[in-house]
Subunit: 411 residues, 2 copies
């Protein structure tokens, strides 16, 4: 008997028929003798519907009230899922995030989980219930409803698995695992049987939308065994996210590159002509962080004549907000010449634990892009990935040629 947390995304619970499918899968696991906690997202489209409704009233909705509204999406799904289980004769009980209680900080629309009270869930599991928990949401210390931001349901699943010391956290989605890249862009993309947490982290952060990045961080931190599976197929073991250490012995067998990640959700902001003095990065990014805007890539070149240029990327939705902050609060203070925003960019990255022990990956990547005439605007590297920013219109082409260049299609 194992304790399994199963998380189902919005497309997996998009309508009553799919919710019944979820219930049938849960019933099969329950029949094997497992204890099951189900975490569900809002029915697909529901969160966007609620956000649009809020924006009809207030173009930039107050975050506290927006959370009150959008948290209802998952609340409907937990009720429906519990009903579907009961209809199959299975004891089931739903919890909102606040009811669990999943304690978060007060950063509405992008809250972080601080603690989970698993007392009631454990009691219910021992009493034979399947426990259905609303993903994506929690409550702060004063009982205000909070949400964890997009993809937060994955985080809820992993956090519950961690606190309950679950044997496995299964993430059901509309793909049957993690691929070398998005099959919609490269039809030859191949499903990976397993992938390391670190690679997954890079793939997720680079825009491979299978798993939300914070959930992977969480899983790594608390050593949660994470598996990505399709909610539309009953066969297949999906992709297991492993700890890198487990593969050390047979590293020779592992491919150098695991996959190609990409995303077009970011915008580039460049601060031109800033004095090349200590503290400049903080003076630029401090006000951005204070406004709770996430920054991804950050590039600063060595300057000439005591001035330099400073670039970073933020989510496209936050570009105008970031530009306004920089122009209002920063530009005059640091005497920057100009502040430029560009939201027609894409980021493409090659990811692989294997590249640590292989040279030449970067040069092969740059040559491949150069051969197609694709200009590289920014470069950022880590031990297991090389990311570049290019013009958005070249994104699919770049992904395809890199996938081929690193021989990811065949096994």
């Amino acid at each position: 008997m194992a304790l399994i947390v199963q998380k189902y995304g919005g497309t997996s619970v998009a309508n009553p028929e799919r919710i019944r499918n979820v219930a049938r899968r849960v019933a099969r696991y329950k029949a094997m003798g497992h204890q099951i906690v189900v975490v569900v997202s809002a029915m697909s489209g529901e969160t966007n519907r609620l956000i649009a409704l809020a924006k009809e009233i207030m173009p930039e909705p107050d975050p506290r009230e927006l959370d009150v509204m959008i948290s209802t999406g998952e609340q409907v799904t937990i009720g429906l899922t519990a009903l579907a289980l009961m209809e199959l004769g299975i004891k089931a009980k739903s919890y909102t995030g606040a009811q669990v209680k999943i304690l978060t900080d007060a950063a509405h629309t992008k809250a972080r989980i601080l603690d989970i009270d698993n007392h009631n869930i454990k009691q219910d599991l021992n009493d034979g219930y399947v426990v259905v928990v609303a993903g994506f949401q929690g409550a702060d210390e004063f009982g205000n409803t909070t949400t964890l931001g997009r993809g937060g349901s994955d985080t809820t699943g992993v956090a519950l698995a961690a606190t309950l010391k679950a044997d496995e956290c299964q993430i059901y989605t509309d793909v049957d695992g993690v691929y070398t890249t998005d099959p919609r862009v490269v039809p030859e993309a191949r499903r990976l049987d397993k992938i390391t947490f670190e690679e997954m982290l890079e793939l997720a952060s680079q825009g491979s939308k299978v798993l939300q990045i914070r959930s992977v961080e969480f899983a790594g931190k608390y050593k949660v065994k994470l598996r990505v599976l399709s909610s539309f197929e009953d066969e297949g073991d999906g992709t297991l996210i492993t700890f890198e250490e487990a593969n050390k012995d047979n590293n020779m067998e592992e491919p150098i590159i695991s996959g190609i990640a990409f995303n077009r959700d970011e915008a580039k902001i460049t601060v031109l002509g800033v004095p090349d003095t200590p503290g400049i990065a903080y003076q630029i990014l401090g006000p951005i962080a204070d406004a709770n805007i996430d920054v991804d890539m950050i590039i600063q070149n060595t300057g000439a004549d005591g001035v330099t240029d400073f670039s970073f990327t933020v989510h496209k939705n936050e570009m105008n907000k970031a530009l306004a902050i920089l122009r209002d609060k920063v530009q005059g203070f640091i005497k920057a010449r100009e502040i430029i925003g560009d939201d027609r960019i894409a980021k493409v990255a090659v990811v692989g634990v294997g590249m640590r022990s292989h040279v030449g990956i970067a040069s092969q990547m740059f040559r491949t892009l150069a051969e197609e005439g694709i200009n590289i605007q920014m470069i950022s590297t880590s031990e297991i990935k090389i990311a570049v920013v290019i013009e958005e219109k070249y994104m699919e082409l770049a992904v395809r040629v890199l996938h081929k260049a690193f021989e990811l299609e065949g096994k």
Copy 2:
């Protein structure tokens, strides 16, 4: 400066434009220096949509999970209403029933309010906020979400007004007050400037759908000044619900009959041929009450030959459930000859405090119906109303002729 609770029903918050209208009215009251608590229902149609969704999964949805789902309706509206107020530059903050907290018993889908913690609301009002509270919902002692049943938002409004010792509880609806009867049935129906709590109670319980009966009971118990107004008109003072005592002196001026109530939501159940012995009413109605089915009229005639017939009415939706209970658990035990259900009935009542001191109201009512050939199936009386059950198809005719017979159209 007054403290006013304003309750807006589903049609008053049916879409963003109407929610903006609500915000504008609240803003006007706020500008007059009043403290305002706003109680809102779900957007019209939303509760029914959610119930239908639940029934798609489970034809008789588990009440706990149904409450989890349908309580999201008001939760969306409080968020939208708070946003609409903020958009007008007014400080606003929303609360779900559980957040307030409105403590109820555990009778899901028809819970009763046990206590309200008004601490946070008082604090917010003193800090200059308009407080927006979700009607219709609360939480039991274990934090399970509960709902108060249809019309429960009125009860929330009155209960909040009572606990906050509000100066007035304003119920905004799609009519501009309480009428002598439904103007859709009798175009000559006249709006009443005021009406006693007792009359309102009878009118509400008899199906005049302006106010929910429990809210009127609550208001009477806690002496809350209640006013019914139109949310679609800015003029007019609506109908004030008064305590009867206030009118004692000028009773001579008051009309004998205040209005004609009617409803077609009930079904009649008759238990034929039961022994005319002590305890028979309890043996029949005990199991019905245990199943949480509300019973309205109850009639038992004196029997002949030691047997009698016993009739009562329940909501149409619960007729089959009640019939099943009687046939399974009661019929054999009390040796009843037959159990009959009839859902093609209507109830019509004349209501008025004045009838206490006037004879002949009943005979005038019965004569008026007889002149139209309308047969009376059941009669039930109280000090301030006479109600009859008739065949459903005669309902509108009965209401019209009674409205005319009691001269309610003119002033």
